[in-house]
């Protein structure tokens, strides 16, 4: 399955903040998705194992985690997270909080696009995550904006004291984005990566 078919646009500062935390944003995000899928696959198997053991119609189980996961998903009593939420009373609405956070940033001028051709995931990888997560893109937005927020806070926490101690700095920007731009322009700026 392909998510974000036209990529994920970031401001230049957002991209620099990501690179403050990780050497390569796309690699980091790809690895995060892969790891999330692995964790959810293992959790799914663990949750379903007692049911499979108790089901007399199941006479044998595959010895491969991926195949076992596929077997679980093929069962009539299996439901994705979205299907489960639709059946609750009251119905759990689909969250858009992370996308709203992403959309809340104005991205005009210089931007950087991650995964210009989209993120192509093996179906099982995506489906393992969707066993627990309502929407893959919403989850990715959350991961991305969380990492940007973390990078921004760490960058400011590190450089604010440096700027305050720098006698050559008379004033500093009063906005977070302005401060980030100022930090990135400093000769002594170094990313954590």
């Amino acid at each position: 399955m392909i998510i974000f078919p036209t990529g994920i646009a970031l401001t230049a500062n957002e991209n620099s903040i990501l690179l403050h935390m990780v050497p390569d944003a796309e690699t980091w995000l790809s690895n995060a998705i892969t790891e999330k899928a692995r964790l959810r696959r293992d959790a799914l198997i663990q949750e379903w194992r007692p049911t499979l053991y108790a089901d007399a119609s199941v006479t044998e189980l595959p010895a491969d985690n991926h195949e076992l996961c596929a077997l679980i998903m093929a069962r009539a009593d299996y439901k994705t997270r979205l299907q489960q939420d639709a059946e609750t009373d009251p119905v759990e609405s689909t969250s858009t909080v992370n996308k709203d956070t992403y959309d809340g940033v104005t991205r005009s001028g210089s931007t950087v696009t991650l995964f210009g051709s989209g993120i192509n995931l093996p179906d099982l990888t995506g489906n393992c995550i969707l066993a627990y997560v309502q929407n893959l893109e919403e989850w990715v937005y959350g991961a991305l904006m969380g990492q940007i927020n973390r990078g921004k806070k760490k960058m400011i926490a590190k450089y604010h004291p440096i700027i305050m101690a720098d006698a050559s700095v008379i004033t500093m920007p009063a906005t977070e984005d302005g401060l980030i731009t100022m930090i990135l322009a400093r000769a002594d700026y170094k990313s954590l990566a």
């Binding site: 995060a32 790891e35 999330k36 964790l39 959810r40 959790a43 997270r81 939420d85 009251p90 759990e92 609405s93 969250s95 909080v97 992370n98 709203d100 956070t101 809340g104 627990y132 997560v133 989850w139 959350g142 991961a143 904006m145 969380g146 990492q147 927020n149 973390r150 990078g151 921004k152 806070k153 760490k154 926490a157």
Partner: protein, 307 residues
């Protein structure tokens, strides 16, 4: 018939007369002459190079052998034998208790000295090291993977983890008409950050916590509302994590008081999962329910990684 020996003048020699070495019968290279228990001449077998001739006592022929410790001259209790730079035997002086023998290198006699206090350089090679007693970290930290922050233990046993992900935030202002007729107030906003260890809390715009690592997180939230009427059927406060939603349903409305609702969970969160709070009140004719902000922490959201 026994042999008889005569000197140059033709006189017969007696047993007390000298016999020259040259007059002896030929023998084996390296052997020695001795006498056996019958008093007859006998030979001592050729020894091994470096061995010394050792008496076997009366009735036992001497033999070449190594030197027994008991054969050494008496010395001083606790001394050791060495050889000096000339190759002559010498002694190593008696050391102090618990001192260890330390080489002085070529040309310098070894001596007993206190053990070096360098301690254990590394236990990396030991895949299952064990302690025979308490591990006292003093004022140092227990860190991992080359990190510089970690676990500290005070002299009284208090354990602190200064970099353990944790956050707390609250809402000081009133937020009007957020729910009531089933419209979710999502996310509940907590714009005033109290602390944020690790930078994982985003107070705005979404008041969202993003898990930095996979683990179990204790998450708690409380909200205080007002404006409810007897029309209210129930309320719902939720911790919305990526993997699941944790819900607490509240009772029907009571117009005489404001309501304080609380939710907590030990949530399974994977790295980069998010969590925020939602609030939903049902039954009112419109979204007339307000969040009652406070300088206290009555409208709050907090969490910490516990496992």
């Amino acid at each position: 018939m026994p042999w008889k020996f005569f000197n140059a003048s033709g006189s017969q020699l007696t047993a007390t007369d000298n016999v020259t070495v040259a007059a002896l019968a030929d023998g084996t290279d390296g052997e020695l002459i001795t006498w056996d228990t019958a008093g007859a001449p006998a030979t001592v077998a050729v020894g091994t190079s470096g061995h010394v001739l050792t008496s076997g006592g009366t009735g036992v022929a001497p033999t070449f052998s190594t030197i027994a410790v008991s054969s050494l001259a008496n010395g001083t209790d606790g001394e050791l034998i060495t050889w000096n730079a000339s190759g002559a035997p010498a002694t190593v002086a008696v050391g102090t208790i618990n001192h260890v023998l330390t080489s002085g290198g070529t040309g310098v006699a070894p001596t007993f000295q206190a053990a070096a206090a360098a301690g254990i350089a590394s236990v990396v090679a030991d895949t299952s090291p064990e302690l025979g007693g308490n591990l006292d970290m003093q004022a140092n930290l227990l860190v991992g993977n080359g990190g510089s922050t970690g676990i500290a233990i005070s002299v009284d046993g208090e354990v602190t983890m200064a970099a353990q992900p944790a956050f707390a935030a609250h809402q000081q202002a009133n937020v009007l008409n957020v729910t009531g007729a089933g419209t979710p107030y999502s996310p509940v906003l907590f714009p005033s950050q109290v602390y944020d260890v690790g930078g994982d809390w985003a107070e705005s715009p979404g008041s969202t916590f993003t898990a930095p690592v996979t683990g179990k997180y204790v998450l708690t939230s409380s909200v205080r509302i007002w404006g409810q009427t007897t029309a209210m059927t129930y309320g719902l406060i939720s911790l919305v994590t990526s993997n699941r939603i944790w819900n607490v349903y509240t009772s029907t409305g009571d117009v005489s008081v404001t309501s304080g609702w609380f939710i907590s969970a030990v949530a399974d969160m994977d790295a980069t999962d998010t969590c925020y709070v939602t609030l939903n009140v049902f039954g009112e004719s419109g979204d007339t329910i307000d969040i009652a902000g406070s300088m206290s922490m009555s409208i709050s959201f907090s969490g910490v990684l516990v496992a």
